[in-house]
């Protein structure tokens, strides 16, 4: 794969141009979130010291600064509070229609989660509709592993999709 204008980048991976998170354990301490996502689980971190649930997940508790955290499951279904649909001029990397919604998953801190809605044609979604977690593959990236050489790190990401009635 050639890079126009910059032939020296042929076949190289520029992390600075990657629209997705670098999820691999070697580069990200919240890698369990992405591993759980691969199992179809939507999770975040809860503090074992003070009980605070934070979203997105993190490596310290933002409330008491404890590092003693555990991953807990969040609801995977919720209701659309409000949504927007972009049909034309959708940015590179996303398909038309690009739909965003504020979704109520029914528990703190995800009563107003801002997420993308996928698998939904334009003009169909309504306020109050039920949506559910949708996990999909995103491109794997080459990670250098010393003597083991370069491995391809598989990745997934998530959005929400309408629940079929």
């Amino acid at each position: 794969m050639a890079v126009a204008g910059i032939p020296i980048l042929e076949n190289l991976y520029p992390a600075t141009m990657d629209m997705w998170p670098i999820e691999a354990k070697e580069f990200n301490r919240i890698w369990p979130f992405y591993e759980n996502l691969k199992q179809g689980r939507f999770t975040t971190t809860k503090c074992k010291n003070c009980g605070h649930v934070a979203y997105p997940p993190r490596v310290i508790c933002p409330n008491c600064y404890s590092e003693n955290l555990e991953y807990i499951d969040l609801p995977k279904k919720g209701k659309v509070i409000v949504f927007s649909e972009e049909v034309r001029g959708v940015p590179l990397g996303f398909e038309s229609p690009l739909i965003h919604a504020v979704v109520d998953l029914g528990v703190d801190p995800v009563r107003r989660l801002l997420t993308r809605i996928v698998n939904c044609p334009a003009g169909v979604l309504k306020r109050g509709d039920e949506v559910q977690l949708s996990v999909f593959e995103i491109p794997a990236i080459p990670v250098e592993k010393g003597k083991a050489g370069t491995i391809m790190a598989e990745r997934v990401f998530f959005a929400f999709e309408p629940v079929k009635k």
Binding site: T16, M17, M19, W20, P21, Y55, P56, I81, V82, F83, S84, E85, E86, V87, R88, G89, P91, L92, G93, F94, L98, H100, V102, P109, V110, R112, L113, L114, T115, R116, F157, A159
Partner: protein, 394 residues
């Protein structure tokens, strides 16, 4: 006697799609800034604060301040640094400069902001915006470009307060018309309500004139103390009376309001700035609020107390933001029509307020003595307010 910070001079280069390098734009702005105050020479300037967020991505240039200093012929000895707070970078530079000159750590600081966003292939401008929000969480949800987020905001304002599309359009009309005679604005065309109402859709309910453009440009201003300023100018002094910068969230999931049209952080920033400036909303004669989208200005006039919460649509729709209205807003054209090179915007706003308070603005507000500037940055993640006045805080 206590040192009091003033904005002594300022200048903005032509904004738009510029056939120029980032450091060219900084040089243009620095020259126009010093042309505004002929007695001040580059050698008098002992500090430089550069505001630029996209230098690293779009010009492959980090550690930007020394490059800007060298190209502009500056040899700072007190401070030479860069700030990155996206849309609030310029205002942040002014806040920091105020602290530095009032404490005596610096005497005369140039605050220069600029962005070169258009690259040889246009896709990169839009793609790079994935860095403007929380990359891994909001960017990966397709929130890099802000129209969807502000479309949701506008919808919630309509749902909760009955705001109409005409109210949004009236903001675009006012700001475009202010800019129609501004030679450095990106958009210099008069706009009618009919044109604004019939413009192409971006993300409903937002249409073309509801959204600020992507802009190359730079601006620079000089922050010093009142006693030093008097040596260089006979113009009325414009004091930086009060400031606030509030950050309660970064990720959209932790938005502080009860809904997206309830901007608690904006309100807190306004109240803090009013109290540090010892003024009230009724004292504000002219304001430059962050009209990245028409809906933003509608909500800002509410949260800053120019009208009641929920009545921003009516306030803007009834021409209260125009000359002769209760608080003329974005009198040089705002972000909607001047354009929005992120780090330069707060400086552009400060320059317009300086000119208003000195009685030399293009659309002059009569007897303007107190003015406000405001930026929001990121996915509505931070709010920055400055209050300027003809007299210092007692």
């Amino acid at each position: 006697m206590a040192r009091k910070a003033v904005i002594l001079a300022g200048g903005q280069c032509k904004w738009g799609v510029r056939e120029a390098h980032l450091v060219d734009l900084f040089q243009e702005a620095a020259k126009i800034c010093l042309d505004d105050i002929p007695a001040l020479k580059p050698k008098n300037i002992d500090g430089l604060i550069v505001a630029s967020s996209y230098a690293g991505r779009c010009s492959f240039q980090v550690n930007t301040a020394p490059v800007v200093a060298e190209r502009c012929g500056l040899k700072p000895t007190s401070i030479c640094t860069r700030v990155d707070v996206l849309c609030a970078g310029g205002s942040t530079g002014i806040i920091l400069a105020k602290g530095l000159v009032e404490s005596g750590m610096a005497d005369i600081i140039m605050v220069a902001g600029g962005e070169k966003l258009y690259t040889p292939q246009k896709w990169e401008v839009f793609y790079s915006e994935l860095a403007s929000v929380d990359h891994d969480w909001d960017g990966a949800q397709g929130m890099g470009l802000p129209p969807p987020f502000f479309a949701l905001t506008a919808q919630e304002h309509m749902i909760h307060y009955g705001t109409k599309k005409e109210d949004l359009a009236s903001v675009s009309v006012a700001n475009y018309n202010y800019a129609s005679t501004n030679p450095v604005a990106q958009m210099q065309k008069a706009l009618t309500l009919e044109e604004a109402m019939n413009a192409p859709t971006v993300v409903p309910p937002l249409t073309l004139y509801d959204c600020c453009p992507i802009t190359d440009g730079a601006a620079a201003c000089i922050i010093t103390t009142d006693e030093i300023a008097k040596k260089f100018t006979d113009r009325p002094l414009v004091y930086i009376r009060g400031t606030a910068q509030v950050c309660l969230n970064s990720v959209s999931a932790n938005f502080p309001g009860t809904h997206l049209a309830d901007w608690k952080h904006t309100k807190i920033a306004g109240e803090k700035a009013y109290s540090s400036a010892k003024v009230t909303p009724n004292d504000i004669k002219v304001a430059q609020t962050h009209d990245c989208f028409s809906i933003s200005e509608v909500i800002e006039v509410e949260e800053f107390g120019f009208c009641k919460k929920g009545e921003g649509g009516q306030f803007c729709g009834s021409k209260q933001i125009e000359i002769g209205g209760k608080v003329p807003v974005n009198t040089d054209g705002g972000l909607l029509a001047c354009g929005h090179p992120f780090g330069a915007t707060g400086i552009r706003q400060g320059i317009e307020i300086m000119k208003q308070l000195q009685g030399r603005a293009r659309h002059q507000v009569k007897d303007a003595d107190i003015g406000l500037t405001h930026n929001l940055s990121g996915a509505n993640a931070e709010h920055t307010v400055l209050i300027y006045g003809r007299t210092p805080v007692k």
